[in-house]
């Protein structure tokens, strides 16, 4: 506290300007002790790995794992020279779009169902959580076995129903394999997504619906004019997290087809792994990782822009 009558501050300022400067910088730095931990945390767990990833992509790394110095853009030239790259990237985009759109549509329905009051609702909610609790790798393996050519459950059932005449090796044909893997990916993404939607639905106050009813809106009109717009933040969050998850999804594809035959069911994530551990080319794999990272960033930014994120969440 300064005493206004003595004018101590002015006197101090005229005789010795330095303390004031110190004080000012001190004041500017004052929040630092509070900010520093989180800045340091972000730097170590977010920024540092990204820098390391970019660094790897610029290095020449021997097949044994020894770093042999910088290689400039060589790894990127190699990567863009791969015949498989373009099909893999296009397939990845298809995989992400397909899985996320289907997941969102099903989750909107499922969220609505879980939000409704009906006997046994609690049991149904638990049932929806189960696939979430199971390990993704396990789920993928179980589906791989169910689709087995010789003793799989799916072939057995279809044979007994006379839908097919002889067993189909589902996972050996790229098109069919992609569809089955997308189904598994939807299956494991549903619980999280529908619970985000459910949480969104529960934040919508009941009086909004009452007002709509008074105004004579039908249920379809109510859903599209009231429920969906109010669900927007929830849908946004759920779809962004799903896009990133599905883009980077490794266990499903690796367990079910290993990206094969050839690289016909690879996405960028499995392709990256194969570059490092099949082709023994860690540097080129690093370049793929950087491209993958950039792709996700661009996709998310485009999506946010399309969804007019700024107006929505403030």
């Amino acid at each position: 506290m300064r005493d206004p009558k003595t004018g101590e501050r002015g006197a101090a300022a005229s005789t010795a300007p330095r303390p004031s400067l110190l004080r000012r910088t001190g004041r500017a730095l004052a929040p630092l002790p509070w900010l520093a931990p989180s800045l340091a945390l972000i730097a170590t767990v977010v920024l540092w790995p990204v820098i390391e990833m970019v660094r790897t992509s610029l290095q020449k790394i021997s097949s044994s794992g020894v770093t042999l110095g910088y290689r400039g853009g060589g790894n990127y030239t190699d990567l863009f020279g791969e015949d498989d790259l373009v099909p893999v990237v296009l397939r990845t985009l298809l995989w992400v779009a397909g899985v996320v759109v289907i997941t969102m549509v099903l989750s909107l329905a499922l969220g609505q169902l879980l939000n409704a009051r009906f006997p046994g609702r609690r049991v149904v909610r638990w049932a929806v959580i189960v696939p979430w609790a199971a390990s993704v790798l396990m789920t993928a393996l179980i589906w791989k076995w169910m689709l087995d050519n010789y003793s799989g459950l799916v072939n057995r059932v279809l044979l007994d129903l006379h839908v097919i005449d002889e067993p189909v090796n589902w996972l050996a044909h790229p098109g069919q394999a992609m569809l089955w893997m997308m189904w598994v990916a939807v299956f494991v993404s549903l619980p999280f997504t529908s619970f985000v939607i459910l949480a969104g639905l529960q934040t919508i106050p009941a009086d909004v619906y009452e007002a709509a009813r008074v105004d004579g809106a039908g249920s379809v009109r109510t859903y599209f004019a009231i429920t969906l717009p109010l669900l927007r933040p929830a849908v946004l969050i759920a779809s962004i997290i799903n896009v990133i998850n599905v883009f980077n999804s490794f266990p499903i594809i690796w367990a079910m087809t290993g990206g094969g035959p050839g690289s016909k069911t690879d996405t960028t994530t499995t392709f990256m792994y194969k570059l490092a551990f099949y082709d023994q080319n860690v540097g080129e794999s690093g370049a793929m990782a950087v491209v993958n990272f950039a792709l996700i960033l661009v996709m998310v930014l485009l999506y946010l822009r399309a969804a007019r994120w700024r107006e929505e969440v403030r």
Binding site: A36, S63, G65, V66, N149, A172, F277
Partner: protein, 415 residues
């Protein structure tokens, strides 16, 4: 007050995180005395760990002051683990692996004579010593070996009216047709990403083909290989193999073989204990030389795993590593490992012990004529990886020449 405390704790934590994250130790601590070594062993099956545990206990009892820290790694994670060890400079002192030449090229491992006594060194079978060389010096320490032969189902052969196992490719084709008529699959062709390089080479070497030409240059797209792949593709297209060889692994083939659904398939000494017995102990099968195109020569595929000893702390670990390796290569210790796991010997002294078993004898006898993949070329791992990924797609429909061209390109890129 509490808040301040939390801030301090958080700051401390982040600093700790940062330090531990950035700190790349030059070696794992605690072994500066040079008497404690780290051994990374591959898991072959459930018996592997108990074997090493017992061996190490025995070693430590007989060499007081020395200590071996064992780490077991599954084969599916081995490649990733090994790369991490090297990149973070945390290499083990001794590694059990299937490749060594790129470590030798990068100056990471000892030469064999630096870490083995002359007695042990002289006991290796010459074929394997040759396979363990890089630039004329032996770096790899042969560990176990294996050979591939043709397995055939005697009951199915009888049912189809075939008296002898096939010796030529034409006979393979004719026999497969007869077996198909008898209601089973003629030949089981595993060209899936598990081990297609071994299956393919088993056929190619018996057509005069191979991975490299006489001068040691990559020759993956040579005519003999294209013909071989075309032959296998034709077998599949004619319905004489199981469907979709490009996604089939050995385990699936031998599962079907053991159930009597497949007439012929290529397997190794471990096939009986590992794949057939668990499914059907009663199966009446025979083992024959690999068929060749002409029927005159019958080459066998040989496979070898190695131990590699890494240089560390300027050679401080050399003495302990030598003690441990000489202990393992004692006759009774190696032959016990081979018996436990169903592999073939790499040392002369352990060789005779296995020949008493008539099943194993066929493979031991086949070893001297066996041909190996070019493991002494540092680019081999990359080539094998490319083969695993892509070769099968040729049997399914792609043009064999195009697929082999692509693998050749990968090989040349890798060096």
């Amino acid at each position: 007050m509490k808040r301040h405390l939390m801030g301090v704790v958080a700051a401390g934590l982040t600093v700790a995180l940062g330090v531990s994250g950035c700190g790349k130790g030059s070696s794992s601590g605690g072994d500066s005395d040079g008497k404690t070594i780290k051994f990374v062993a591959a898991i072959y099956d459930d018996n592997t760990k108990p074997y090493w545990d017992a061996l190490i206990k025995d070693f430590q009892a007989k060499n007081s002051g020395y200590k071996v820290n064992l780490e077991m790694v599954d084969w599916t994670q081995m490649d990733a683990k090994v790369k991490t060890y090297v990149q973070t400079k945390q290499v083990p002192d001794v590694l059990n692996y299937n490749a060594f030449s790129d470590f030798a090229r990068d100056g990471l491992i000892y030469k064999a004579d630096e870490v083995l006594s002359p007695g042990t060194l002289g006991d290796f079978t010459p074929t394997f010593v040759q396979q363990a060389q890089y630039n004329g010096a032996q770096y790899g320490l042969p560990f176990i070996s294996s050979a591939r032969l043709l397995f055939y189902n005697k009951a199915l052969f009888k049912k189809a009216g075939i008296s002898d196992p096939p010796a030529t490719w034409d006979e393979v084709r004719a026999d497969a047709e007869k077996i198909k008529k008898a209601g089973a699959t003629g030949y089981g062709l595993p060209l899936g990403p598990e081990e297609s390089q071994a299956e393919f080479y088993s056929w190619a070497m018996n057509n005069g083909g191979g991975w490299v030409d006489a001068s040691g240059k990559w020759a993956i797209n040579q005519q003999a290989n294209v013909d071989t792949l075309a032959f296998l593709k034709d077998l599949n297209k004619s319905g004489l193999t199981q469907p979709n060889p490009e996604t089939t692994d050995r385990k699936t083939v031998f599962n079907q073989f053991a159930q009597g659904k497949i007439g012929m398939a290529i397997g190794g000494p471990f096939t009986k204990a590992g794949f057939i017995d668990p499914v059907n102990k009663e199966l009446d099968f025979g083992v024959a030389p690999l068929p060749s195109k002409s029927g005159t020569e019958h080459n066998t595929l040989g496979v070898m795993d190695v131990l590699a000893a890494f240089k560390k702390d300027g050679g401080k670990n050399k003495e302990a590593v030598k003690k441990f390796l000489d202990f393992f290569y004692q006759k009774e210790n190696t032959s016990k490992f081979l018996k436990t796991e169903g592999f073939l010997p790499v040392t002369k002294s352990a060789g005779d012990a296995l020949s008493a078993d008539p099943y194993m004898k066929q493979f031991v006898d086949a070893l001297p004529t066996s041909k190996f993949a070019p493991t002494s070329n540092p680019a081999w791992s990359a080539v094998a990886g490319a083969v695993k990924q892509d070769l099968g797609s040729a049997a399914a429909g792609e043009d064999p020449k195009k697929v082999l061209d692509k693998i050749q390109k990968t090989a040349e890129k890798a060096g």
